[in-house]
């Protein structure tokens, strides 16, 4: 009989049983791991490896050393893509955080009808990425879109949004914020609801005004989640690809070109797979570095904050006891 039960208590398992467990465990792990190995590990390694080669679209490979990376540093279009992506991140991430936090604070009340209001705020989450992109394409339409119609009634000029070098990126940022802020506000709302009501109450008793309460009770309590949101949205912002791909394919005169899109273009239109892998790997590296840096920063922050919370709690606790 290949299957033998454990024996509870202090009996050591026999080698055969341990072997059987290991084999079964490996079999359980196998399909998932195989897929991840094949579809994540190998492509990741290829992105690294192929970036040091010249690889034609028909997969004829030649060693290239650092050629592709040197080319990357001198390629105006690729550099513009990097610059665009950095600008996108610099604008998107702070706005995303602030808007998501604001929304979650707004929604953190309970009154009749709040459930319905919340479900409207979560519409962007129910709508898929491409559908949102499609809707916004029409919202931003030059001649027939409601945004320009509203601008017109207010007396402004119609803006050619997605067709203009200057405005295309802003339109895309608006679209991305619409979707992303709602999503992260969901997370922050749940975190806010977790904030201990006792702590809040104690702070009120202590005479802290709403702003002070926010800064010293709420914010420290949700700091961890806030930092998670920060990191996740930064990673997402660096990777941005879909809106540009669906709407502008790099935009009027490379205005909306991003790193991921550049990797795609170089590979499938240009047929330079080695160079495309160098760009892909650069993206990977940038994300890893930024994530690691943010982790470090938030760990420091969290340390300080935890101390602050602990001190505050102790102080309030003493106050409570006294009362």
């Amino acid at each position: 009989m290949p299957h033998e039960p454990w024996e509870i208590g202090n009996c050591p398992r026999s080698r055969a049983r341990r072997w059987h467990e290991a084999v079964t465990g490996a079999t359980f792990l196998l399909p998932g791991l195989a897929i991840i190995f094949l579809c994540v590990a190998i492509p990741g390694a290829l992105a690294f490896g192929l970036s040091f080669t010249h690889c034609s679209r028909f997969l004829s490979i030649q060693w290239a050393g650092l050629y592709n990376y040197r080319k990357l540093l001198a390629d105006p279009v690729a550099l513009k893509a990097f610059a665009n992506t950095l600008r996108y991140v610099a604008v998107f991430v702070p706005l995303n955080l602030v808007i998501a936090l604001t929304i979650s604070l707004l929604l953190n009340r309970e009154f009749r009808g709040m459930k319905a209001i919340r479900s409207v705020y979560f519409v962007p989450v129910a709508v898929s990425g491409v559908v949102a992109i499609s809707i916004f394409r029409f919202l931003f339409d030059r001649d027939y879109g409601p945004i320009n119609a509203a601008l017109g009634t207010l007396g402004f000029e119609k803006v050619p949004w997605l067709w203009s070098e200057h405005w295309a990126m802003w339109a895309i940022i608006a679209l991305a914020l619409w979707k992303s802020a709602a999503f992260f506000s969901l997370i922050l709302l749940a975190a806010l609801q977790d904030v201990s009501a006792d702590l809040q109450q104690a702070a009120v008793v202590d005479g802290a005004g709403p702003v002070a309460r926010f800064l010293h009770v709420t914010l420290p309590s949700i700091w961890g989640v806030l930092m998670t949101v920060l990191i996740l949205s930064s990673i997402g912002a660096f990777r941005v690809f879909e809106p540009m791909f669906v709407l502008t394919k790099g935009g009027p005169n490379d205005a909306t070109q991003t790193i991921a899109l550049q990797a795609y273009d170089t590979a499938f239109t240009g047929g330079e797979l080695g160079y495309a892998c160098a760009i892909s790997f650069a993206l990977l590296a940038v994300i890893l570095v930024v994530t690691a840096a943010m982790n470090k920063l938030t760990a420091l922050g969290r340390g300080r904050r935890s101390v602050a919370i602990a001190m505050e709690r102790r102080r309030l606790g003493e106050g409570g006891r006294r009362a």
Partner: protein, 290 residues
């Protein structure tokens, strides 16, 4: 505490709060309205200037929905079937494979478990856009270009979900497993009859998460399928049509795009209403509660 009369300052604060809340409702709800409106009107009404914010009831029609099923460009019946298959398969494979893996990592003695976990956590960090080109090369080399298996394979297991299941199984007490073992169950039986039912909330989370991922999949199916492929999925069709409409000289009625979008959104909305709790947990990937 007796309710005090509100000070002007408090009244102002409430007013501001109300305004912000209402503004948010408009900002987040309006695009949905625009999609529904767009799906129900014809191209002439789309292009009416000045803009008709609220089209009269008698100008509404469902012909866009009928047209996308008949149209060669949209082929909605085939495309819907494909998308449903992709979503179901992705959900099915993930539930099975990720549970197996998570259970093995959590409850079974394996050499090198720590290494495997570390490797999995690392792969979560790798962004899809960073490896989509080599992934395309790999899958094409395997002969899976433009096949259903090719679309599903990269999404059939998710390191993120495996880690999720691992963390959840860690909270399941070992005694339950041991009890089943004492009763003479094999590891397989333990997994399917004891562990998975115990992990039902986490499994529901994964199921929703991966079903949505399959339903809304766009970039990968686009890369791996031919143009006008018989394996087209919803988002790809919609994306192509949207880009085509950017040029301004397309023959496709814009209502068709909005109708496609609406059809794509309806199952998600249904899931949301039915399984709200798991939906939220699924979306946030359990990031909300630990």
């Amino acid at each position: 505490m007796r309710r005090r009369r509100r000070t002007p300052r408090q009244q102002a604060a409430t007013f501001v709060y109300g305004v912000l809340l209402a503004a948010g409702v408009v900002v987040f709800g309006f695009p949905l309205y625009w999609m529904v409106r767009g799906a129900l009107i014809n191209q002439a009404m789309w292009m009416r200037v000045p803009l008709v914010w609220l089209p009269p009831l008698k100008s509404l029609s469902l012909e866009a929905f009928a047209a996308i099923f008949a149209s060669e460009q949209f082929r909605m019946s085939r495309v819907l079937l494909n998308t449903a298959l992709v979503a179901v398969f992705m959900m099915g494979f993930n539930v099975i494979f990720d549970c197996m893996a998570g259970f093995a990592l959590s409850k079974m003695r394996l050499p090198g478990k720590g290494l495997v976990l570390a490797a999995l956590l690392t792969t979560i960090m790798v962004p899809f856009e960073g490896m989509m080109v080599p992934l395309y090369l790999t899958v094409t080399r395997l002969g899976l270009a433009d096949t259903m298996l090719g679309i599903i394979l990269p999404g059939a297991a998710s390191a993120f979900c495996i880690v999720l299941m691992w963390r959840f199984f860690n909270t399941v007490p070992d005694e339950i497993i041991e009890a089943a073992a004492v009763d003479g169950a094999s590891w397989g039986q333990i997994l399917f009859s004891v562990a998975m039912p115990a992990a039902a909330p986490a499994i529901a989370t994964i199921a929703v998460f991966t079903f949505l991922a399959g339903w809304e999949a766009f970039v990968w199916p686009l890369l791996i399928t031919d143009p006008q492929s018989k394996f087209d999925v919803l988002q790809k069709v919609l994306a192509n049509a949207t880009y085509a409409s950017m040029g301004g000289t397309t023959q496709t009625e814009w209502a068709y795009l909005m109708a496609t979008g609406l059809i794509s959104t309806l199952p998600v909305l249904a899931l949301f209403l039915l399984f709200q709790r798991f939906f939220i947990a699924g979306l946030t990937g359990g990031a909300v509660k630990g």
